[in-house]
Point group: C2
Chain length 357, copies 2
């Protein structure tokens, strides 16, 4: 029996994945040179489809990395000479903060317990922090920072750079790239692809900053922003990239564009609404995130009265895979991914199965 994955990444593969994979294999695209026109056309196609999908202006480059975690490092190298600032409310926002310390930057943080969210009004960014690091969707806790709050934060501190982790939510958040300097995601979440590719959307202003930093400090050697940007101008990458991942991402983005991103966003909200209604009304579950505006639309986290392992096992027996809680919440929570690869019907089926356990 094939399983349906509601896990928050790696996740259910998008229904068209296999078709696109077959086209890739039949076209022998795994063997083409990454310095050929054929590759450059493939690369440009993916960038164009992502630009359309996410409404990314020409002031920003769309760059490919090995993973979104790599983006954390490259953004810190490129935008921070000395000090960064981080909103921390879960494991992944904490890792972004840890990366800054590991690069010997001075990392400030405003931290809240897992499950709590941030509004722009309450945030005070230290004077010398050059970059504000925010997580649109904290995969570990199911907290989202509303896009309007992210925009307000940048408007409050227009002279500081901002970086938005949308690893487990893109293409859901509708970011305004006239405000957002950096955003990044990986393909094994809402794009429904196998892992192994990260995408970094970055502005010309960051490029200028990286140039300045490089006069005095290292901005890294592998996939440093200056070299990535220069190669991207020519629809290439500095090193041999994950050509298969880039091809598949372009095809999935094209599929999303055919559906229309606003429809994808509406579907996401509709399915999220059903999931939250269910966990809030059923005795065996409750929402971990209590404030509605902070409830993630793409990763729904529920406390379980049964041990979560029993819930996971019970659902799996029906062919449905949900994620365990993260870290200290492993035994008492489940995480349900709500990505485009799982349909309204599959979501209703999951709700029925979870309700009957």
């Amino acid at each position: 029996m094939p399983l349906t994955f509601f896990t928050p990444g790696p996740a259910q593969l998008y229904p068209t994945f296999e078709k696109h994979l077959q086209t890739f294999v039949a076209g022998q695209l795994g063997s083409i040179s990454h310095r050929s026109q054929q590759y450059r056309d493939l690369h440009r196609f993916t960038v164009e489809q992502l630009r359309l999908l996410l409404n990314v202006p020409d002031t920003h480059a769309i760059l490919f990395l090995g993973s979104a975690s790599e983006a954390w490092e490259r953004i810190l190298f490129s935008c921070v000479e000395l000090e960064s600032f981080h909103l921390v409310n879960g494991s992944f926002s904490k890792k972004f903060y840890d990366y800054s310390n590991a690069l010997n930057k001075y990392a400030h943080k405003y931290e809240k317990p897992m499950g709590q969210g941030f509004s722009a009004a309450e945030i005070v960014v230290p004077e010398y922090a050059e970059l504000m690091c925010v997580t649109h969707n904290e995969t570990s806790s199911g907290v989202q920072m509303p896009v309007a709050e992210i925009h307000k934060l940048k408007t409050k501190y227009p002279d500081k750079f901002i970086a938005v982790d949308m690893v487990s939510s893109a293409p859901y958040p509708e970011l305004d790239y006239s405000l957002i300097d950096n955003a990044f995601f990986s393909v094994q979440k809402a794009f429904g692809l196998p892992a192994g590719l990260g995408v970094w959307i970055v502005s010309e202003k960051c490029l200028e900053k990286a140039r300045l930093i490089k006069e005095q400090y290292s901005i890294g050697a592998h996939n440093d922003l200056l070299t990535l940007w220069k190669n991207a101008k020519n629809n290439e990458t500095p090193a041999t990239p994950n050509v298969m991942g880039i091809y598949l991402l372009g095809k999935i983005a094209e599929d999303f564009n055919s559906l229309g991103v606003s429809n994808i966003r509406k579907d996401t909200e509709r399915k999220a609404q059903l999931l939250y209604q269910f966990i809030q009304s059923h005795d065996a579950y409750s929402a971990f995130v209590n404030i509605k505006e902070y409830q993630s639309q793409t990763v729904v986290v529920a406390n379980t009265t049964l041990p979560s392992a029993d819930v996971i096992k019970g659902a799996k027996a029906k062919g449905l895979v949900v994620g365990s809680g993260y870290g200290e919440h492993k035994a008492t929570q489940i995480r349900i991914a709500n990505f485009p690869a799982t349909s309204l019907e599959q979501t209703e089926e999951l709700i029925k199965v979870l309700g009957d356990l």
Copy 2:
């Protein structure tokens, strides 16, 4: 008509690639959690097959990165506090050197023109250089450094670390890991897989050194050696890895082990012998590398009397793809990959086609 790729990477995919890919897809392995026992078993299988294939002892970890270029950076971060030393005789050995400068290390080099090789006897490593960076197979020029010379170099300087770039030759070189501290390769060369995965073989001594360096300097944040090593002990990676690439690499390594690595090495040498005999005897071609012991067994580079674009076009019309020369030699050379994915019969066919042009 399907093409046969004799290009030096991305290259011809290994004949069993499609079968393994289908198994991956059918098993829904693109959706499994990278923190599950199922993933850890997959990861361990690949490491075990590589350990067997390359004869890697337990003193060394086998780690996964986004590309071999990333390995350059991670090795420099981990083994060099202040100074590195590089043998440079082509574009890729030059990039390793450039990476060291970009990380603000002091990089020494001993440089020769493209096409020339190195022997241990002639090399003098500066006193304070901590790491010797050597390229077993310079993909840009088709020069190899004989394994015996690499071992001699380490024996001459036993207190310095050594890193061996075997990107476009592994599993051909039979390295003695009691001497070799670091070696690395990527999967889109002789392993016949799509690009997007690098492999770093690294010793416990490097781990100790990285710990010492970290007391004073940054050793990077993403895929830093301490975190990679700790995760590898548990058959995991710090970030979500290219699970598909790791799975396929394990299956191809298993196929290689079934054939026996000594047979693969013998086949490689037999095919290389045919290719060199041909280009040395035919008026339209000549070997770029003149000294036999420096002639790469896996990337054969030939000067062409015709413009190389005409040779490439003529071969392609017969379904055979060879690579162009690299950089300044683009118009006057061809590069022929001699990897396990192309058989003796296909090599003989290529020789016939090139001979008839």
